[in-house]
Amino acid sequence: MSNVFVVSGSPHVHGDYSVKKIMWGVVLALVPAMLVSFWYFGIGAISITLVAVSSCLFFEYVIQKYFLKQEVTVSDGSAVITGVLLAFNVPSNLPIWMMIIGSFVAIVIAKMSYGGLGKNPFNPALIGRVFLLIAFPVDMTSWPLPIVNRTVLCDAVTGPTSLGILKEGISKGESVSTLASNLPAYTDLFIGNMGGSLGEVSAIALIIGGLYMLFKKIITWHIPVSYILTVFVFTGILNLVNPEIYIDPVFHLLTGGLMLGAIFMATDMVTSPMSYKGMLVFGIGCGVLTALIRIWGAYPEGVSFAILIMNTTVPLINKGFKPKQFGEVNK
């Protein structure tokens, strides 16, 4: 017996876990919301999604292969997620070239420049989105109406988002009850029949995706629940104080990017805290900032900014909120 054996430290078995499984699991969880966006925004949504995903993959491939000269890992699915999420965060009639620039910012600047997957401090899709919002404010805030624009690529019939109508009206001194007639019904908000970024409209589809990720243990409940609950409580209290200025909290939950942000963006494992306690703090922070921006900020929507700001606090949160240790000795 003169065999040569492999020698390595224990453990000698590895669980059935991989980055690929996690990332493609997230992609699968995004499919319901993607289908809803295709249904409401038609060809525009399809082309935007395709462009975003393929340019994200392209930029990641080029950077890994020719600049960093490392193993190309585009098949791990993380660039696909960034592409889909970026597409979800823009209106369906956004010019294609802008989408490509957005993908460049997301992948090259927000992800690869830090060293690629796992090293980026900010959610790449959100950086891409905020860049587009600041660079192209008009194109990024003209929202195609659902259904009527199914076959339109560019010159879509547009209208403001529900949050936009509210912000505009309140700032002009109108009351919530008079504005209510211009707002879509809650059932429409819930299934996604409203103007908005293409992936954020359907709460139900996003929740289905979230439940799938919970079931597959890709995410835990801590961030989405604490985030959504905080927005609900915050806006609920204001609504109780003065319902004529502050709309009811259910409206806040169902409009804008809250569901998308809370379920898919804030839970990005790379840019969120490590411990359960830290996740709760992170979620509450996101919730408070979102509500603050929505109610008193200049923008009608604050989810992207809230999550990006909280991303900056993650190292501190990780330091301050440690997981529970076994046999902790009280000092």
């Binding site: 065999n3 054996f5 492999v6 453990p11 996690i22 494992m269 997981p323 076994f326």
Partner: protein
């Protein structure tokens, strides 16, 4: 169902040899009995080259407080005392004996009769256990007599018996609980007497229903011994996890189980205590599982200490083509061997043979900060963080993160989706931190 609450993983169980009764391995022509077989100081040889020995004869003495006696497992002539390769991969001193016949010391009771009556007092039991060279057979090989001497000011309330065998593949404890149940319970009663405790709890994971049923049935006749069924979860065989699972007490960081009134022993150890005290038979053989997916007949063998592993494997006909890795112990905590020319020792509970396809680790990628290692760590540490600090040589910070609490169960590396060798880096850090601690206490 009872289990521990913090962390843990569930590797594929692969208990292939669970239904295979213990066979007796034949005696080789020479044995090499290492002098360092226990945790603590190595034993000192008391035989010389050319001397005749019998089975069970004392051949090396444990002189330090934490050390253990070693007995000859065969009869024959001492060939030499020389350096040989042992399971650690280092060359260490061993007594090499040429086997002649199978002549046992006369006082050893080799009959199959079960001797139930315990005729010794506390002090006598401890000294017999010490003289017989009994060590923890779960793998840690801590000298058992030291565990039986409860430090002053502490009181043992429970004797915890570890029948968990949470490592995948291994079944030596399982077979003992099935085949030597009565002896085991007598051994436990002896340990209870030595520790002066009225309660002993046996923890067994519920993938060994037959062993649970067997011991439950037999335990009716033994006062104070309870059998507890535990949910299958790795690393429940860690003593801190087992205590938590059974009586919901947490051993404080850096302390021993006696801090919460517990003494933990493995079922194999309890059986060895029975043989030592009731049959006057020192620890000269143990059950070793030979297993693996490509092994023809995964089975359990009663093997004399010092038998070359290559001899045992060829007797078991268990060296299949395309073997990529041979593990001393289970796949989670065992050590990969470089050669089969090593002796079976007191701490060897099994050998797992892995085919080439499974021998190599997955590729390692960037940490994606998913936190799976944190939720897997049974000690509540942050493996990703300690590994990172270790890579950056920040060992003082590792100490602050309580790296010394790590028992190297491997749950972190096992779960890491990026395939990072977390435990390797943590081991480096543990090594460095213990050096730092030693330097500090020397000042």
């Amino acid at each position: 169902m009872k289990t521990f609450n913090l962390g843990g993983v569930h590797p594929e169980e692969n208990k292939l040899s669970g239904n295979s009764p213990i066979k007796v391995c034949s005696i080789p022509t020479t044995v090499s009995i290492p002098l360092a077989q226990n945790l603590g100081a190595a034993s000192v040889p008391i035989v010389a080259k050319g001397e005749k020995v019998k089975v069970g004869q004392l051949i090396a003495k444990g002189e330090a407080f934490i050390s253990s006696n070693i007995h000859s497992s065969v009869s024959g002539t001492v060939l030499k005392i020389d350096d040989i390769m042992d399971a650690s991969g280092y060359r260490k001193k061993a007594i090499i004996i040429n086997v002649e016949g199978d002549e046992w010391l006369e006082e050893i009771d080799r009959s199959a009769d079960i001797k139930r009556e315990i005729s010794y007092n506390k002090g006598e039991i401890v000294s017999i256990v010490k003289d017989s060279g009994v060590v923890g057979l779960g793998g840690a090989t801590f000298p058992t007599q030291v565990k039986l001497m409860v430090p002053e000011g502490k009181k043992a309330e429970y004797l915890i018996i570890n029948g968990v065998e949470c490592e995948p593949y291994l079944t030596s404890d399982h077979r003992l609980m099935l085949e030597k149940g009565e002896e085991l319970l007598i051994g436990i009663s002896i340990l209870m007497k030595a520790l002066d405790v009225s309660k002993a709890l046996i923890g067994i994971e519920n993938n060994k229903q037959d062993a649970i049923a067997n011991l439950k049935k037999l335990a009716v006749n033994y006062k104070g011994i309870e059998v507890h069924e535990l949910q299958v979860k790795y690393p429940q065989g860690g003593e801190k996890q087992l205590i938590k699972a059974l009586i919901n007490r947490e051993v404080p960081s850096g302390k021993l189980p006696i801090e919460v009134g517990c003494v933990v022993n493995n079922v194999g150890t309890a059986f060895a205590v029975y043989e030592a005290v009731q049959k006057k038979k020192p620890l000269i053989e143990r059950v070793v599982t030979i297993t693996g997916k490509t092994v023809k007949n995964p089975s359990n063998y009663m093997v004399r200490i010092g038998t070359p592993l290559s001899f045992l494997l060829s007797e078991a006909d268990s060296m299949p083509e395309g073997t990529g890795k041979v593990i001393n112990g289970g796949p989670m905590m065992g050590k990969a061997l470089t050669t089969l020319e090593i002796p079976v020792v007191k701490g060897m509970s099994g050998v797992v043979i892995m085919p080439e396809g499974e021998a190599k680790r997955p590729n390692a990628y960037n940490c994606i900060r998913c936190g799976k290692c944190i939720s897997a760590c049974p000690m509540g540490l942050e493996p990703y963080l300690i590994a990172l600090m270790s890579e950056q040589n920040k060992f003082e910070s590792c100490e602050g993160e309580r790296v010394m609490d790590c028992m190297e169960c491997g749950s972190c590396s096992f779960t890491c989706p990026s395939g990072r060798p977390l435990l390797d880096m943590i081991r480096v850090s543990k090594n460095k931190v213990s050096q730092i601690i030693r330097l500090r206490s020397n000042k």
